[in-house]
């Protein structure tokens, strides 16, 4: 549903953004049309893999069923999942993502280290939609 936002499998899984060749600004989700730095004359936007690990900027969860276009089976009880905003030090940006299944707010703290891993957003008989998820590495602040 969103092309070119991530790549690879297992340990090689990475989020993909773009980097401006003129000013070095990084964009996620990827910016392929124009560099958004107002001081930049505009450079070629080249695909770049983002850091695999970052630190929790904040986190929360959703205790009520998220509406469409989020896909969930109304026949099944709603299973809350945590959302984690993660600060990537090298790129100096914050990326929001779901936590891996089983990780709740009680397991998280601001500043904790997490890493990006592939996960399943939803699936039907023919297709599984993959996404990125954040997983604590076990390292503290």
């Amino acid at each position: 549903m969103v092309a070119g936002w991530f790549t690879g499998e297992g340990e090689g899984f990475r989020l993909l953004g773009t980097r401006c060749a003129a000013c070095a600004s990084v964009f996620f989700p990827r910016e392929d049309a124009f560099c958004r730095n107002p001081a930049c004359p505009g450079g070629e936007l080249r695909e770049v893999a983002l850091s695999r690990r970052g630190r929790v900027w904040s986190y929360t969860d959703g205790r009520y069923r998220a509406p469409s276009p989020y896909v969930s089976d109304p026949e099944l009880p709603w299973e809350p999942y945590a959302l984690i905003a993660v600060e990537l030090a090298e790129e100096r940006l914050v990326v929001l993502g779901q936590a891996v299944p089983g990780v709740t707010c009680a397991d998280l703290a601001v500043g904790m280290e997490v890493e990006v891993v592939p996960g399943v957003l939803n699936e039907d008989a023919e297709t599984a939609w993959t996404t990125w998820q954040w997983r604590p590495t076990g390292a503290g602040t």
Partner: protein, 396 residues
């Protein structure tokens, strides 16, 4: 000040879930504002409508929709959409027309019929729309963003859930005194704590509801106000409608990520702080001059953030300001004397206009039991999706 316009009238439709058309709410509010101004609709040279995308032919037609409901009379018409900042942009447009000499009297109207449940984007597969993406890819509702901000405040500044509940207790006490508010019952800290968690750490009573409602203002040139016999009207002295500056490094609705600060150092102030600063600079006043403020308390925790962004206190000091009673009635700087979104709920195109209605009531000394004694300078502040900032400063 040469840039001032007069507020001759303010009017609202009571907020709630009435299940009727936004046109009805807006028309009731408009008639109330005209009556308050002592003017006939046919005296109005221009109408500015704040749009809703949930009614009429797919929205975006609010100005003419209200003009038709009031009776076509040939007025200049404008419709504006800026999400939650729509109402302030409508006020800004009306002011610009008056100052440019295009109209003497302008009617500003905003109204909405809110859908049930969470706000959500329009249907279809729209992967080029960040609002659609945050729901499809993350299931990130508005309350989940409020939860992120609240948790961040707890981690960085030591705010507590009890601090957040105090905001609701304060605002509900004011809303109980406001005849236009949807919720008119005082809420206790125990009731907040007993309500269900929506987005950790925020509970149902920490988060504003969606509502139906309408609000309207009649603005005029200072010269028209004098001719109309209003020697000392409430005046609008500033309307801030700024955008963020790159790189915007605070994760904001509806984005999945922030700008990167790797190539350009982040600005000294956040986007919300820049909204207030632009209004202060235009009005020639500072936070120390304010008698009261109306801010977008989409969540209780967000109201605390606004205290700091408006400069009412230093960074991280909002909870102390609240605990000290400074933002409560009788305090140094009462905030959300109307009851705020906590008592009104969100009727998106109407809310920023409703904020100004409260400033006007307070500055005229007509706020009844909610009255802030001796109010002279008042500010409203809010923020609309996709980078619309807005604040209004009114004086008397």
């Amino acid at each position: 000040m040469t840039g001032e316009v007069a507020v001759l009238g303010a009017g609202m439709h009571p907020w709630g879930k009435w299940g009727r058309s936004f046109v009805e709410y807006g028309t009731v509010a408009a008639r109330a504002a005209l009556a308050d101004a002592g003017l006939d609709w046919r005296d109005v040279g221009s109408i500015v409508g704040a749009d809703t995308v949930r009614g009429g032919y797919p929205g975006y037609v609010a100005g003419a929709t209200f003009a038709k409901a009031l009776g076509w009379q040939g007025a200049r018409v404008t419709s504006v959409y800026a999400a939650c900042a729509s109402g302030a942009q409508a006020v800004g447009t009306a002011r610009a027309q008056i100052l440019a000499g295009l109209a003497d009297v302008v009617l500003v109207v905003g109204a909405d019929s809110a859908p049930k449940g969470f706000f959500r984007p329009a249907g279809g597969d729209r992967a080029d729309d960040p609002d659609w993406l945050r729901f499809r890819v993350l299931g990130a509702t508005n309350p989940t963003y409020f939860g992120l901000y609240a948790r961040r405040r707890m981690a960085v500044h030591g705010d507590t859930r009890e601090d957040f509940a105090r905001v609701k207790v304060k605002n509900s006490a004011m809303g109980a005194l406001n005849p236009h508010a949807r919720y008119r019952k005082r809420v206790t800290a125990e009731e907040v704590a007993a309500s269900a968690v929506v987005a950790d750490p925020l509970r149902l009573l920490d988060i504003c509801a969606t509502s139906d409602g309408g609000a309207a203002l009649v603005l005029s040139s200072m010269e028209f106000a004098r001719r109309h016999g209003v020697a000392e009207p409430v005046r609008i002295r500033a309307v801030s409608t700024v955008t963020p500056r790159y790189p915007n490094t605070v994760l904001d609705l509806p984005d999945i990520a922030t700008d990167s600060a790797v190539a350009v150092a982040p600005p000294d102030e956040t986007f919300r702080a820049s909204i207030a600063r632009a209004a202060y600079e235009e009005a020639g006043v500072g936070p120390e001059d304010l008698s009261l403020a109306e801010v977008y308390d989409l969540s209780t925790a967000l109201e605390l953030q606004w205290y700091e962004d408006l400069g009412l206190c230093g960074e991280g000091e909002a909870a102390k300001l609240l605990r000290d009673g400074a933002t409560a009635p009788g305090g140094r700087i009462p905030v959300n004397s109307s009851g705020g979104l906590a008592s009104f709920g969100e009727a998106v195109p109407a809310q920023a206009i409703a904020q100004v209605c409260e400033l006007v009531r307070q500055l005229r000394g007509e706020a009844g039991e909610r009255q802030v004694a001796g109010a002279r300078v008042a500010l409203s502040a809010n923020q609309g999706l996709f980078g619309h900032g807005s604040a209004v400063i009114a004086v008397r």
